[in-house]
């Protein structure tokens, strides 16, 4: 396994006058669970279609498992697993028949194929289901989609919105399954559900209107945002305090309500020194001084929400 599973450099895709992807660049470390995050229509599916060879980039390069994307061929696809956003199945097949068919396309047969089909049916919660796929619910189809993407024990698993159609239990099971692959398989996982990324991903790229707004580890991203937000509570009216610190160079924004101040700051260290001093000077007592725990959702909204 190479150190980098996916490397994308200045990749663009245009459909006529519409730019779906605009000079996208990022890397996916091998063995990681990579969250590819973005609102609907950001270009996530387009990028996955390019990575799987279903579409071609207008410009730029991409390397998948060490192979140049321009040479995507059936041999490289032996090492990939893919779940599209809306997986299409043959409605006349059963889940087991579809998995056998998918395995056959990878050249699997005999006991190996039987073992994998059995375990993946168990994993997808479809063991013993004799109904044809045409009668499946969307959630069942999604679970079958995840199972078929794993039939070849892929080195790189590309999942396009894998949890979007699942109920909470199904969602948890799929996320646990994804997390269990960490270290063995690289998982590239596109979604607009932030809680899912927060739950299982190591690294994340946020795509907004065809551009990568940020690419970092989840921990880094949250740390960056956490350091900028403070909540301060004093034992009296916070209005005089607000007036005293207004205009401080480290202060970005400030709201106050009763004894509570909410601040965003550019320099946490400077704010940590100045605020207690100002509180003491005003003769107030400090009840609470904390940097808030932010969710990835808040980071996401801060990054992509501004221009909307």
């Amino acid at each position: 396994m190479t150190a980098t599973a996916v490397e994308i450099r200045d990749l663009s895709k245009k459909f006529g006058a519409t730019t779906a992807l605009d000079r996208v660049s990022f890397t996916v470390p091998a063995g990681s669970v990579f969250g590819f995050l973005g609102p609907n229509g950001a270009g996530k599916t387009t990028l996955l279609r390019i990575l799987t060879g279903l579409a071609r980039p207008t410009s730029g390069t991409a390397t998948v498992l060490g192979a140049d994307l321009s040479a995507v061929d059936p041999t490289l696809r032996r090492r990939l697993g893919f779940l599209p956003d809306v997986p299409g199945f043959y409605p006349w097949m059963t889940a087991e028949e579809f998995l056998r068919f998918a395995g056959g396309l990878f050249g699997l047969d005999g006991a190996t194929l039987t073992d994998r089909v059995t375990s993946l049916l168990e994993l997808a919660g479809l063991a013993g289901v004799r109904t044809r796929v045409g009668g499946f619910s969307r959630g069942m189809k999604q679970r079958l989609g995840v199972a078929q993407a794993l039939i070849n024990a892929p080195e790189l698993l590309l999942l396009d919105e894998p949890t979007s159609a699942l109920d909470p239990i199904g969602r948890r099971e799929v996320l646990e399954m994804i997390a269990s692959l960490r270290g063995r398989t690289t998982v590239f996982f596109s979604t607009h559900i932030l809680a899912d990324v927060e739950r299982v991903c190591d690294t994340v790229a946020i795509l907004d209107r065809g551009r990568v707004a940020v690419s970092a580890t989840v921990a880094e991203l949250k740390k960056r945002a956490t350091a900028e937000r403070l909540t301060v509570e004093v034992d009296g009216d916070a209005a005089p305090l607000a007036g005293r610190i207004a205009g401080a160079p480290w202060l970005h924004s400030l709201t106050h309500e009763g004894s509570l101040l909410r601040l965003t700051v550019s320099d946490l260290a400077a704010a940590s020194r100045a605020l207690p001093e100002a509180i003491a000077a005003l003769g107030l007592g400090l009840r609470r001084f904390e940097s808030d725990e932010v969710t990835l959702e808040e980071v996401f909204v801060a990054i992509v929400g501004g221009g909307r």
Binding site: L54, P74, R78, F82, P84, G88, Y90, F101, L105
Partner: protein, 254 residues
């Protein structure tokens, strides 16, 4: 070719387990059974109609097994040809619109193998159904008429089969080019109409596949017919159209 066998197996299973088993094979079998019977009762029907018109007398010679064969060939050339256009119009476009093509083609199967498996399955279905239906037509014909030589029937149907195989290949290309079944069917009908139009030009009839229809009728009537050029150009056209379909499909984004 990577993935070909697995995908061909899926195509054959699909034929067996869906409506596809009923359309072309069902029609062929239906005409295999009914064509000799229709030929048998046609004179009686015509005479009965003529009898209702005072003063009109139509004399029709007694039907023979050859009339049953002729009826069978006519049905194949018209109705079954139309059914082939409609049934094969969705060969690729349906897989594309349902998302199955995207799921399959991200696995180790080449687009060429995907198309070839579809073509082979469709041609197999057509060939086997035609042979069975022709044998049935022969059997029914021998039940209702005194036996006549079977050679011209098989030769004529063989020539029709070559033109039908070319049509299936053309429909494969149409289904690749057009995103909807309706668009592909329209293009297939356009191709058939164009071939019919060109068939009024004698050199085209003699030296190209458009002469296959006339050649089949002549062969059935034991008349001398030029078949080498029509058959060989049909084979070349099948290979060429199949190649173009593969190249177009390989360049498409899914």
């Amino acid at each position: 070719m990577m993935g070909f066998t697995a995908f061909l197996g899926k195509e054959l299973q699909e034929i067996r387990r869906t409506w596809r088993i009923w359309v072309i094979p069902g029609m062929l079998l239906f005409f295999g059974i009914t064509s000799p019977i229709v030929a048998l009762v046609t004179p009686a029907l015509v005479e009965s109609l003529a009898g209702s018109q005072p003063g009109m007398v139509i004399q029709i010679p007694d039907p023979t097994g050859m009339d049953g064969y002729g009826q069978f060939l006519k049905n194949l050339s018209q109705l079954v040809t139309l059914a082939i256009i409609i049934a094969s119009a969705g060969l690729v476009s349906t897989e594309r619109s349902s998302g199955t093509a995207q799921l399959v083609l991200t696995k180790p199967i080449s687009r060429a193998a995907f198309l070839l498996a579809k073509l082979v399955a469709e041609l197999l279905l057509l060939a086997v159904s035609t042979v069975v239906a022709t044998a049935v037509c022969l059997g029914v014909s021998r039940l209702v008429f005194p036996p006549v030589a079977a050679g011209p029937l098989f030769a004529a149907i063989g020539i029709w089969l070559a033109s039908a195989m070319l049509l299936v290949t053309v429909m494969l290309l149409c289904s690749v080019v057009f995103s909807s079944r309706g668009g592909a069917a329209g293009a297939g009908l356009g191709f058939s109409f164009l071939a019919l139009l060109v068939s009024i030009w004698p050199p085209a009839v003699r030296y190209s596949f458009v002469g296959l229809g006339g050649a089949a009728a002549k062969v059935l009537g034991s008349q001398p017919a030029e078949v080498a050029w029509p058959l060989s150009t049909a084979l070349v056209a099948i290979l060429l159209v199949g190649y173009v379909a593969i190249r177009v499909f390989e360049r498409q984004e899914l």
